[in-house]
């Protein structure tokens, strides 16, 4: 099979699966789930063939043409796309398999697996997209599938609200994204990713606003401050969905997109600073918020936010290059590229965060859908496999050396250290917080005694749920290994990521910092938190806890205030103007006025002959006036 056809197969397989499920298998939940998983498995296999046979290609055909606007449907399958494809395929397959067990008793399994398939289709579309229009199209589609899946428990008002919020907030980001695309299109005459790169290298001047507007899309999709409000709420969806969409893949699509348009940023470096600071703020802010959360998924959600901030910040740090004298001439050597580092972290994060979410899913499933960590505890004994894999995940995310998270986080810190010390400090602080809240979570869930009814009766999950956990745990261990970076197939993206051979200066500082933050954060949490059904921080230092809770709540408050007090009231005012002032007062008023005129006109016919004779007199005067030339 030609690679293009294979790619097409990969792309269309889940769509076909979704279509079949929607049309025929709505009521056959089991069949639907098998179909969906099978489709995912086949596509994963095909994806692996594509990636590891090292075939890279571009292909496109016109999708729509109007005048000078051509929108094409195309593949740009380079190393970056290959990496993303692998991530999506692995995590996707894992989640599909996990869902078999997790969603086994759900009444609307058909809809769920259909949604998963649509999501896979949309996500793969983003991965393959060779131009921004196409990317935008699938961008919207992942938004839709995210809406669909968050809304899975649709009888819950909170789920309905959360899905709505997620879609709308994403649309706000897409507003900028689309404007950026259109601007880019009119400025460069193309939105093809390869051609953009060529144009930029050809010296086209790029307005700073273009990459910034495009970044808006990433802000929405990757839930950066201030558009992060939707992600914690999105945890209303089934946990596997959170793992797949709201942790590993879709939210990472923002980062992927940034890496895709990296040439534009390179041409407008001023934009990068903005990106970086948004990332840093998100990283720190989300980490602070995570500390006060009591819902296991919310903790992970804020952790995801924080890690996404890390990636965005890494991207925003940009390229690090050094000018060296080589044989008398000067040449610039690219030492570190923010994009590569960000993608590196994206990959490792995808694995361990998916692992953590699936692990939490296993926990929730075992605890009969109890999500409050203060009602858990002591699960290590009851859920051994889950405990083990979850622990690996925690270790990976806090950056324990030799695990994947360590390498990727390290390279980000290194880049930050070289480029901007303040950012370095903030990111390091974030790392402290990360290990703090992750260990807190870990301890409260798994250690100590069972504090709740459901936790007491917790049971280990079935094989279909454990298998993905194990696979992902393995990946969380090895994915960051320097040898992965050296793989030829991902050279295009990982070339500038330091593979263990740290650059001379900064190496030690960064290494030590990494170790320190892990230990400081992890140990302090471990000893600080008691296995109790109340938050120790809230009990001991209520001031700090309150502050952090406020920090967490205020954007939501602002959002709610905006919706209820600004947007809806504005809508009501305009509605008043439209229906009362315009429709009633002006239009009906005019109609009434015309009616009055009509009554007046009718009243002319008074019925008295004398009056009529006066009309004739007036008529005579009128015609005489015309004859005399007065009129």
């Amino acid at each position: 099979m030609a690679p293009t056809q294979l790619a097409l197969l990969v792309l269309l397989l889940p769509l076909a699966s979704a279509a079949i499920i929607a049309l025929f298998l709505r009521r056959q939940g089991a069949l639907a789930s098998y179909l969906s998983v099978a489709a995912c498995a086949v596509l994963a296999g095909a994806a692996f063939i594509l990636v590891f046979s090292n075939q890279r290609f571009t292909a496109a055909f016109d999708w729509m043409q109007l005048g000078n606007l051509t929108i094409s449907l195309g593949f740009k399958f380079d190393d970056l796309a290959a990496l993303m494809l692998v991530i999506v395929a692995i995590v996707g397959l894992a989640v599909h398999v996990f869902s078999l067990g997790y969603m086994h008793d759900d009444g609307s399994r058909g809809r769920y697996f259909g949604g998963l398939s649509i999501f896979m289709f949309s996500m793969l579309g983003i991965v393959f997209a060779d131009n921004l229009f196409m990317m935008f199209i699938f961008w919207e589609l992942v938004g839709f599938s995210s809406w669909l899946l968050i809304n899975h428990y649709m009888e819950k008002q909170s789920a309905a609200d959360a899905s709505k919020k997620a879609f709308i907030v994403n649309r706000v980001g897409d507003f900028g994204f689309l404007l950026g695309i259109i601007w880019c299109y009119s400025a460069l005459g193309t939105v093809n990713l390869s051609k953009i790169a060529l144009e930029v290298q050809g010296g086209s001047v790029i307005a700073t606003a273009i990459p910034l507007l495009l970044f808006c899309g990433a802000v929405g999709k990757s839930a950066q401050v201030p558009l992060h409000v939707w992600l914690p709420d999105a945890m209303e969806g089934p946990t596997p969905v959170s793992a797949l969409i709201h942790a590993a893949t879709m939210v990472a699509a923002g980062i992927y997109m940034l890496c895709r348009i990296e040439p534009l940023f390179a041409a407008a470096p001023a934009a990068l600073d903005g990106v970086m600071w948004v990332g840093v703020i998100t990283a720190v802010y989300a980490a602070l918020c995570a500390i006060t959360q009591s819902d296991i998924k919310k903790v992970l959600a804020y952790s995801t936010l924080s890690q996404l901030g890390y990636m965005v910040a890494a991207f925003g740090l940009g390229r690090l290059s050094e000018t060296q004298d080589v044989d008398g001439g000067k040449s610039t050597i690219l030492l570190l590229a923010g994009a590569g580092v960000a993608m590196f972290h994206l990959m490792t994060h995808a694995f361990f965060k998916a692992l953590l979410f699936l692990g939490s899913g296993s926990v929730i499933h075992g605890c009969h859908h109890e999500q409050n960590i203060f009602k858990m505890g002591g699960l290590a004994k009851r859920m051994k496999f889950t405990f083990a894999t979850f622990t690996i995940g925690v270790l990976a995310i806090i950056g324990t050396p030799l695990l994947s998270g360590f390498y990727s986080k390290d390279s980000i810190l290194l880049l930050a250290f070289e480029k901007n010390r303040l950012v370095f400090g903030l990111l390091a602080f974030t790392a402290v917080l990360t290990s703090f809240y992750m260990v807190r979570l870990w301890k409260l869930v798994f250690l100590g005694k069972s504090r709740g009814e459901s936790a007491g009766h917790a049971h280990e999950s079935g094989f279909s749920m454990l298998l993905p956990l194990i696979v992902l745990a393995a990946l969380a261990v090895v994915a960051g290994d320097p040898r992965v970076l050296d793989l030829n197939i991902f050279r295009g993206i990982f070339l500038e990521v330091p593979d263990g051979q740290y650059h001379e200066h900064g190496h030690h500082v960064v290494f030590i910092t990494s170790l320190t933050v892990v230990l400081v954060g992890g140990l302090s949490a471990f000893f600080f938190y008691k296995s109790d059904d109340k938050d120790t921080l809230a009990v001991k230092v209520p001031g700090v806890f309150g502050g952090l809770a406020l920090l967490k709540a205020s954007p939501d408050e602002i959002y709610n205030y905006y919706v209820a007090k600004v947007q809806d009231r504005f809508a009501l005012v305009l509605n008043f103007l439209d229906q009362i002032v315009l429709s009633r007062a002006i239009i009906r008023g005019t109609a009434g006025f015309v009616g009055l005129l009509s009554l007046g006109a009718r009243a002319l016919y008074v019925g008295s002959l004398h009056a009529y004779v006066y009309w004739f007199l007036a008529g005579a005067a009128l015609v005489w006036g015309f004859a005399a030339g007065i009129f």
Partner: protein
């Protein structure tokens, strides 16, 4: 000063105006009708005067027709008034305004 066409025309116009005045002010339908006859006659004065001063006979012949028509009109008109009087018991204009608006 000789009496010329103008004087006859003025007479005709004045008679026309007086007839019109009657139509305007009188409340009795019968009198209104008389005044209308006056107006017709006023026109015939002008007609005859023109005929005389222009030296064509057609105007005079026209008067024949006008008189005949007027007579017919009067007959029909009076019949209507009588019928109305029989129904309503009045010939006053202001009481004959059941049709209005």
């Amino acid at each position: 000063m000789t009496i010329g066409l103008n004087e006859y025309l003025i007479l005709s116009a004045l008679l026309f105006a007086v007839g019109f005045l009657g139509v305007l002010v009188r409340k009795n339908t019968l009198v209104i009708y008389m005044c209308l006859e006056l107006m017709l006659v006023a026109s015939t004065i002008a007609l005859v005067a023109f005929s005389r001063f222009n030296g064509t006979l057609d105007g005079n012949v026209f008067v024949f027709f006008i008189l005949t028509v007027a007579a017919a009109e009067v007959a029909v008109g009076l019949a209507i008034i009588v019928a109305l009087f029989r129904k309503r018991g009045t010939v006053q204009v202001e009481e004959l305004n059941a049709l209005k608006n």
